[in-house]
């Protein structure tokens, strides 16, 4: 037992300095049509680590909040809260996501800063009282696979027809969203190359790409 005790902030600063906090997300996105999702799931079962078991399913409710940090052009701080509807006793997840960096052609994936925080279920009320406003919410339901440090989700996005009632939902597309992501400490760019190779193996079934959703709005 150490006789000297350091504050939590000191420990956190040390962790930040030694770069062990996974605060970068490497991301590729794509979609697969409902008719072809079974084929994709079969292929992922073959490619990924959790082969022997059935693919892991999930059903999450995600709420997106934002809070102004200053007058425009200052971008509002965007925060996301996610909870597992199928595992109600799990901690909720609070997530900060930074601006996505697409980089040039030589960079295989989108990179964005990310802080993932497990929290108690009071987080929604906490954010609301903090001054955040909810922008939108949705239900995401599907399958999750792992391949080393990579995570693959194949999920349907549902719009909530009634506020706060996650049972009454309707899909927003005839396709499943496919995401390939890794959360890693800053500077581990080698993982992006692994992701590119993995994405290559899913073609032409799914085209996993760097997508700039900011540009899609125009």
């Amino acid at each position: 037992m150490a006789s000297q005790i350091s504050t939590a902030m000191d420990s956190l600063n040390a962790a930040v300095k030694s770069n062990i906090i996974p605060n970068q997300e490497y991301l590729l996105q794509g979609s697969v049509m409902d008719s072809a999702v079974e084929v994709l799931l079969q292929r992922l079962r073959g490619l990924c680590d959790n082969v022997d078991s059935r693919p892991e399913t999930f059903r999450d409710h995600e709420m997106c909040f934002s809070i102004r940090r200053g007058p425009p052009p200052e971008q509002p701080l965007s925060l996301r809260v996610r909870r597992a509807l199928d595992h109600q006793d799990m901690p909720w997840q609070l997530r900060y996501i930074g601006q996505p960096e697409l980089g040039d052609k030589s960079r295989p994936t989108i990179v964005r800063s990310s802080i993932d925080i497990a929290t108690s279920s009071t987080v929604v009320e906490f954010l609301t009282e903090l001054g955040c406003r909810i922008d939108f919410e949705y239900i995401v339901q599907g399958y999750m696979f792992r391949k080393g440090r990579m995570k693959v989700t194949v999920a349907k996005i549902f719009k909530m027809v009634q506020v706060k009632i996650p049972d009454n939902v309707e899909p927003i597309s005839q396709s499943y969203l496919v995401e390939l992501s890794v959360l890693a400490p800053r500077g581990q760019d080698a993982i992006a190359e692994d992701m590119r190779i993995f994405a290559e193996q899913l073609r032409p079934l799914v085209q996993l790409e760097k997508i700039d959703y900011k540009r899609l709005s125009h």
Binding site: I5, T7, I115, T122, F126, L130
Partner: protein, 206 residues
């Protein structure tokens, strides 16, 4: 995790802070307590900027007893919302420095030796606010029980046994309001926050 009572130990004229801690250490050791390291509870308070509307306060606390957690308490005037998060929550607060500013001079911490004696855990904390000594807080935890109502009498006896008349016969107000509920780590944090608030208000050592 059991029920915890936080008790202020009044300072006397003829003892300094470290001397008080030493004095209490002798007493608990005499009872058969064994020192098991140090403990630390700290609290940093953030204030919303005026542009955000009605003033809000966020207290962010850490307790070495739950080292992977960060405890936040938001006071918005009408509501008090507690939040338990993992350690990265501190990084998120750093993202909000333009709307929630830290009042560094009110940063409080309670720090000192931690003892175990049978089912009890005793912590002798000297309270400092931005390096100034403010007083002594004694934390006693009775670990086998999680219902305050069932354990208060036992704890009172134990507390009075080594703190003497400083301990009232009534449970602290905070516990009285939830005598029959399951005690949680956040309750300890709330008690610290109440006491820290008193130290902040007073200008002298208490």
């Amino acid at each position: 995790m059991g029920v915890t009572v936080l008790q202020q130990f009044p300072m006397s004229e003829n003892r300094t802070g470290p001397q008080t801690i030493e004095f209490l250490t002798k007493r608990v050791v005499a009872l058969g307590a064994v020192q098991t390291g140090q403990f630390l509870v700290d609290c940093e308070t953030y204030q919303s900027v005026p542009q955000l509307g009605s003033p809000k306060t966020v207290h962010v606390l850490h307790n070495s007893e739950q080292p992977a957690s960060v405890f936040a308490v938001l006071e918005s005037g009408t509501k008090v919302v507690p939040l338990i998060a993992d350690g990265l929550f501190d990084l998120l607060m750093l993202k909000m420095t333009s709307i929630y500013t830290s009042k560094k001079q009110t940063k409080v911490e309670a720090k000192g030796p931690r003892f175990e004696i049978g089912d009890f855990c005793v912590k002798l904390g000297s309270v400092t606010m931005s390096q100034n000594f403010k007083g002594v807080l004694v934390e006693v935890e009775y670990r086998p029980c999680v219902i305050p109502g069932s354990s208060w009498e036992l704890m009172r006896e134990f507390l009075q046994g080594f703190l003497g008349s400083a301990v009232p016969n009534q449970a602290p107000q905070y516990l009285q309001n939830r005598m029959n509920e399951i005690y949680q780590p956040m309750d300890t944090i709330q008690q610290y926050l109440e006491h820290f608030g008193q130290y902040r208000k007073s200008t002298s050592v208490i």
